[in-house]
């Protein structure tokens, strides 16, 4: 049988048709079937009209009007060749809203074995924009078949692409900028999104603080990839403590009338960072603060408790001592995570620094030092045996010592710093166990000062001071942190608090934590009340021999 069948149809192009044909294009993924449409409405989207409206409308008659204003404006426009594009309704996009009956494809129901699918009326909204460049080289015709089997060809006037209108929340400008900043840092997107959702869920539950703490707990329990700005490699308990401590800290600072702005900003920063995932990479954009700092990748992580306390106290102490002239390269080498905690601590530290008068003077100085000292602190804290580390550092720095006597002269500065430190320490101490707090602070400070200085003659000095007397506590006496010792340093030469602490740290044996040293030195400085002098850009302390 013949497989070919010829049919001939006439093609007509009707003229004077009142209808203008346009093409609607939908996204293939939307799976639109127009036969299923039940109800539809098509209208023009006039939202762009306000752009075309006159900016300033002047009254034509009566009050506020000028004679001949319109003509003048028109003449002006002509002279300068302004071309005004008119608002054309025909060129505006379409708003299409259709309701269709669609079977509700509920996968869950299928799993249960239910076979009945409820048809549901679903309304979809589309926005149809004109597509340009369609009719450049060729024309489109719509061929419809008449009942008598002739074809009618109608030219297509416009082509519209219809997209679904977005219903989900979009980022605001600020949010988008933040996300942009993080784009290289998020390494685990799944985790990131999961946390985001968790956060939203928690907030919806009305969690507020509790939610946040819960969330942070969860976060802290998850692993971090290349460290985090938050730098909280603690367990849940530690985080709790940190949180509770932090809130009380902030309250106190508020009472003291510190610059709440700075504090809030910094506070929000760690919080925000905690919101981000811990998988984020380390952020290195601190305006050159960490330039030249070497990061050591230590695998050991100190005990959680110590970490918490240390991290809490350290920043504040560092603030006060930040005016020391040397940076702690060594310690920074040892602790990569310093940076992470630095940020959060920085915030606290700077906030704290606002408290004390002294620190306020050299706030700018402190900040630079802060990061370094903090990093040093953190390094110290995170070490399992901070004392051992210190010893190790000491020995390392010993090799670098050149001019032992120079250290002595740097006393005044150090004293002042210590003064600041002690203040903060005391404040902190009130909230937590003083020993560990003070100890860690001192520790951190010492490390901060000790590492950076190339001339660490403290070791030599500490030896004779071992026989120091008139120290208030047994511990101080044992380790030579005496008033006499401090006085000696201060009278010899103006010294920064950092350097001073270094000296004491150097001769510190096991049995006293860095925080304790800081504490003691601070007390002594308070007693001695040295004079302050600006040398270079650091605050030095010294005592006049009278």
């Amino acid at each position: 049988m013949t497989s070919s069948r010829a049919d001939e149809y006439l093609v007509c192009v009707p003229k004077h048709s009142s209808k203008q044909y346009n093409v609607m294009r939908f996204n293939a993924g939307d799976k639109i079937d127009i036969r299923k449409w039940v109800k539809g409405s098509l209208s023009r989207d006039l939202s762009a009209k306000k752009i075309y409206e006159e900016e300033e409308v002047y009254p034509e008659y009566g009050e506020g009007s000028e004679y001949g204003r319109k003509q003048r404006e028109e003449a002006r426009r002509l002279k300068y060749g302004f071309k005004r594009s008119k608002f054309k309704v025909k060129d505006q996009p379409w708003n299409l809203m259709v309701s269709a009956i669609e079977p509700e494809a509920d996968s869950k129901k299928k799993l249960n074995g239910k076979s009945d699918i409820k048809p549901k009326v679903i309304t979809k909204e589309f926005s149809g924009r004109k597509e340009g460049g369609i009719g450049e080289g060729s024309m489109y015709f719509v061929f419809t078949q008449r009942p008598d089997c002739t074809f009618e060809a109608h030219p297509v006037e416009d082509w519209y692409n219809f997209k679904r209108k977005i219903r989900h929340r979009t980022l605001t400008d600020e949010e988008a900028e933040e996300a942009w900043e993080k784009r290289d840092k998020i390494l685990n997107h799944l985790n990131y999104m999961a946390r985001k959702r968790l956060h939203i869920n928690d907030e919806e539950e009305g969690g507020g603080e509790e939610g946040k703490i819960k969330l942070e707990k969860k976060k802290s329990s998850s692993k971090m990839k290349n460290g985090d700005e938050d730098l909280m490699i603690h367990d849940n308990e530690d985080y709790e403590l940190y949180m509770s401590g932090g809130s009380s800290d902030d309250a106190e600072e508020d009472d003291e009338g510190t610059s709440s702005k700075k504090k809030q900003k910094k506070k929000s920063k760690p919080k925000k960072e905690s919101d981000d995932e811990k998988d984020e990479a380390v952020e290195d954009s601190d305006d050159g603060e960490h330039e030249g700092t070497e990061i050591a990748y230590a695998s050991d992580i100190s005990s959680e408790n110590e970490e918490i306390y240390d991290s809490k106290i350290a920043p504040r102490g560092l603030d006060e001592l930040s005016s020391s002239s040397s940076s702690d390269d060594e310690e920074e080498n040892n602790k990569p995570e310093e940076k992470n905690t630095e940020k959060s601590k920085q915030s606290k530290a700077t906030a704290d620094s606002d408290n004390s008068d002294l620190s306020a003077e050299s706030a700018s100085d402190l900040e630079d030092e802060d990061s370094l000292s903090r990093s040093a602190l953190l390094m110290q804290q995170k070490k399992i045996s901070p004392k051992d580390k210190k010893a190790g550092k000491r020995s390392a720095s010993n090799s670098r010592s050149s001019t032992p006597n120079s250290e002595l002269s740097g006393s005044p500065n150090v004293k002042r710093k210590l003064h600041d430190v002690s203040k903060k320490l005391e404040a902190q101490a009130s909230r937590q166990s003083p020993l560990t707090v003070g100890g860690s602070n001192i520790l951190g400070k010492r490390c901060a000062t000790g590492v950076g200085s190339e001339t660490s003659g403290k070791r030599q000095k500490t030896n004779p001071e071992g026989s120091g007397t008139s120290t208030p506590t047994r511990d101080s006496t044992q380790h030579g942190i005496t008033e006499e010792a401090v006085r000696k340093y201060l009278t010899h030469k103006p010294i920064t608090t950092k350097d001073l602490l270094k000296k004491f740290k150097a001769k510190k044996k096991t049995g006293i934590t860095s925080e304790q040293i800081v504490d003691k030195v601070a007390k002594i400085l308070k007693k001695l009340n040295p004079q302050k002098i600006m040398m270079g850009d650091k605050m030095h302390l010294y005592l006049k021999l009278t």
Binding site: C12, K19, Y21, I32, L46, Y67, G68, Y140, V142, F143
Partner: protein, 258 residues
């Protein structure tokens, strides 16, 4: 068109869906053929479609009507070529056709159908087609702007003169008008008040035109009853003093002084 001047959407937003059940073809046609179709004489079929099914494949051939050959530009006349319609299947789910009816009352929008086949109209390469293409190319190569020689010399070149004819006439006219005659002060004030009823701010030049008074006199009167604005926005503009101001929106009274 159905849009109003203020740029609103006057059409009927209700979309008619009766035509949505129809199936249509969307055919892409080359420009020269489309022109022929659109310029065809009224009521005349433009051609014939021969649809054959060969071994499961559908072939569509289009042949142009003889009468259509006469349509079009001189160069493309009598160059009928056959075309084949290449069926490209539809992205079935995604194309549809709707129409807008340009009625004076309101624009009616309705769905016309679902596109089931996207078709490409391609000419069958033949001798005629080559000739057609050649003529098209020759047309395209011709420059749009041509140089034409003038029949006579240009007379509109202007020689530089001291005083142009029109300017001379203008000066004469001004002279004939003569100096402006001062009217009574009250009368001038009345005129000013009337003018300030209409607009709040006036330029001195405009006031001069309106009142036809010598500038010095006008300025004197203005200094009495008005203020000179120096601030940005309405700069260098005169307005009435606050005590004289009495703006009426609808009616314009001749005297409005307080």
């Amino acid at each position: 068109m159905s849009e109003t001047h203020d740029g609103g959407d006057t059409g009927d937003s209700c979309l008619e869906l009766s035509g949505a059940k129809h199936d249509v073809w969307l055919v892409k046609v080359p420009k020269y053929l489309a022109n022929k179709w659109l310029n065809a004489p009224d009521g005349c079929p433009v051609g014939k479609l021969r649809i054959t099914k060969n071994a499961g494949r559908t072939e569509v051939n289009y042949s142009m009507d003889k009468r259509l050959e006469l349509v079009g530009e001189a160069s493309t006349k009598n160059l009928a070529t056959d075309h084949k319609f290449v069926l490209q299947g539809a992205e079935r789910q995604s194309l549809a056709v709707f129409s807008t009816t340009n009625a004076k009352a309101g624009e009616k929008r309705s769905m016309e159908g679902r596109v089931v086949q996207k078709v490409d109209c391609r000419p069958v390469v033949s001798h005629n087609y080559m000739k057609l293409k050649r003529t098209q190319m020759i047309e395209a190569c011709k420059p749009k702007r041509i140089t034409k020689q003038l029949e006579s010399a240009v007379t509109t070149v202007y020689k530089p003169v001291n005083v142009v004819k029109e300017e001379l006439a203008y000066k004469e006219q001004k002279k004939s008008e003569g100096k402006k005659i001062r009217v009574a002060k009250e009368e001038l004030e009345g005129m000013l008040f009337q003018a300030f009823e209409k607009h709040q701010y006036y330029n001195i030049k405009d006031l001069k035109d309106i009142t036809q008074q010598p500038v010095a006199f006008l300025k004197d009167v203005l200094k009495e009853i008005g203020l000179y604005n120096k601030h940005p926005g309405h700069r260098h503009m005169w307005e009435l003093k606050p005590e004289y101001r009495h703006h009426k929106v609808e009616t314009k009274d001749s005297d409005d002084s307080s």
